[in-house]
Amino acid sequence: MAQNVRNVSQTEEVSSTRRVIAASSVGTLIEWYDFYIFGTLAKIISEQFFPKDNPTAALLATLATFAAGFVIRPFGALFFGRLGDLIGRKYTFLVTLVIMGGSTFAIGLVPGYKTIGFFAPAIVFILRLLQGLALGGEYGGAATYVAEHSPAGQRGFWTSFIQTTATLGLFLALGVILVVRQTLGVETFSDWGWRIPFILSALLVGVSVFIRMRMSESPMFVKMKKEGKTSANPLAESFKQKDNLKMVLIALLGATAGQGVVWYTGQFYALSFLQNACNVEFVQSNVIISIALLIGTPFFIVFGALSDKIGRKYIMMAGMLIAVISYKPIYQAMYDEAALKTKVEMVDKTTVETKEAVKGTDNVTTTVTKKTYEDGTTYKETVKLTVPIDLVKKAELAAADKLKPETKKEVTLPQNSYYKMIGFVLIQVIFVTMVYGPIAAFLVEIFPTRIRYTSMSLPYHIGNGVFGGLVPLISTRLVEATRPAPGLPPADPLAGLMYPILIASVSFVIGMLYISNKTNNMDVE
């Protein structure tokens, strides 16, 4: 009889934890989706809202693309983390969800620069900042909420579901964009179709808010509040007290900084490398990343659960170490797989087509060269030269050396290379799952309940938003530095890996030396 009662109670507990995980994860996934569609559509957004000939607007474009990741996410972590420790987890991350959904939806409705001028980039800039603030508050809340509902000894397993949401959010963003783009066609998509993924967010957020409204507050927070043990000033307690500050620093330098660069390299830099260094065609490169993300996602749960058995530290550190050692060979193999100079061209199949058209006040000459290679690779090069019809304007541009053609290179890989590329990206996604799967449980366990939301959010968002978020910018810059002259290929296309390798190496040494592996069964009180 007693055994039956215990079994029923355990079943109810698991079922309740599952509901908590589902409700938290759906909301967090949608927040990541909202955040990533802006990044993925950054080029179209810059064309719609930021005119190239206005330097102030161009500056705003750059800041809007990066500011949320660099500066605002940690501020969101501080602001909402404090609220979460003062008034509760449930209401705080409900607010972040509404702010994120509202800003994303609004971006989809903002008229372009042609209609409202400078207000367009200014509004988009503010909305992007709001997105960053909301994201800064969301993750810590969701991870804390789930961890505080999870039974001791299974925290790695249950929180790993929250860890899947960032990758699934990226997958969802890429999927929605590809489907809308393929359905509407490239031109319509660039014209107005790009707004659909933003507007769709309102529906997703509406569903998620409905689910979250029905959730109860974290039991640990409720207990702490009843006992009057909540922190009066979580910010001061987190960062002014030595015992907490030292844990914030170790979490940042020994874990989240390395995790952040591995995360961004394995997913974002891999996509950028495929498109810019390997010139792999837009749809194919996105599909490669999407498939690798989908296959790799279950490993978040595998490593999260494993961390309950063997500890968080060695799984995260192993992920960083293997990433540091293998990044160069993996990226070299990706580069070689798409390199045309090692392939044999079927010259008789080469076609060259030139078209001339008048667009507004310009003459546009487009030359398309298509090549086929023996292994099935196809290469398309589009050279577009825009020359003003007005002779005076033409002479001015020629004098300023601005009459340069735009060149677009697209490599479409054959099936064999395509699968290999998925494999190369998948290996990197596995590294991501090793460093990222156990990290929520690790962060939750090193801080006390009264200041947990604030304390864990800041190192997480500095590690991911700043160290990780800077990977595309710094790595691209390092590659550009090896380019002998504009228009020529870079001397070292792998130079960009130096930044993630360096950060992950330092993080690995600090983590190995100073992080304890004995946190996995610690009681979260």
């Binding site: 030595k242 620093l249 910018l473 810059r477 304890s516």
Partner: protein, 74 residues
């Protein structure tokens, strides 16, 4: 292990201090060679956002490590 942690503490602090002049000198060199808007934005982000975070966190972390604050975490 405790001695190694403390010894590395000195290294982290020195790295934190050393990064500041290195980054500023590199920024000045690159901006002087090519004072483009791109260069200004890139180095502003590095100097205003990334460098202070790396530098100050390494310095404070190093001091804590040197004082043996992390010795209890085994």
């Amino acid at each position: 292990m405790s001695a190694i942690k403390k010894m590395f503490g000195i290294l982290w602090s020195l790295m934190g201090v050393g990064i500041i002049p290195l980054v500023i000198m590199q920024a000045m060199k690159e901006i002087a060679a090519k004072p483009s808007e791109e260069n200004w934005i890139f180095w502003s982000i590095v100097i205003v956002v990334l460098m202070p975070i790396i530098s100050f966190s390494l310095i404070i972390f190093g001091v804590f490590a040197l004082k043996g604050e992390y010795d209890v975490l085994e």
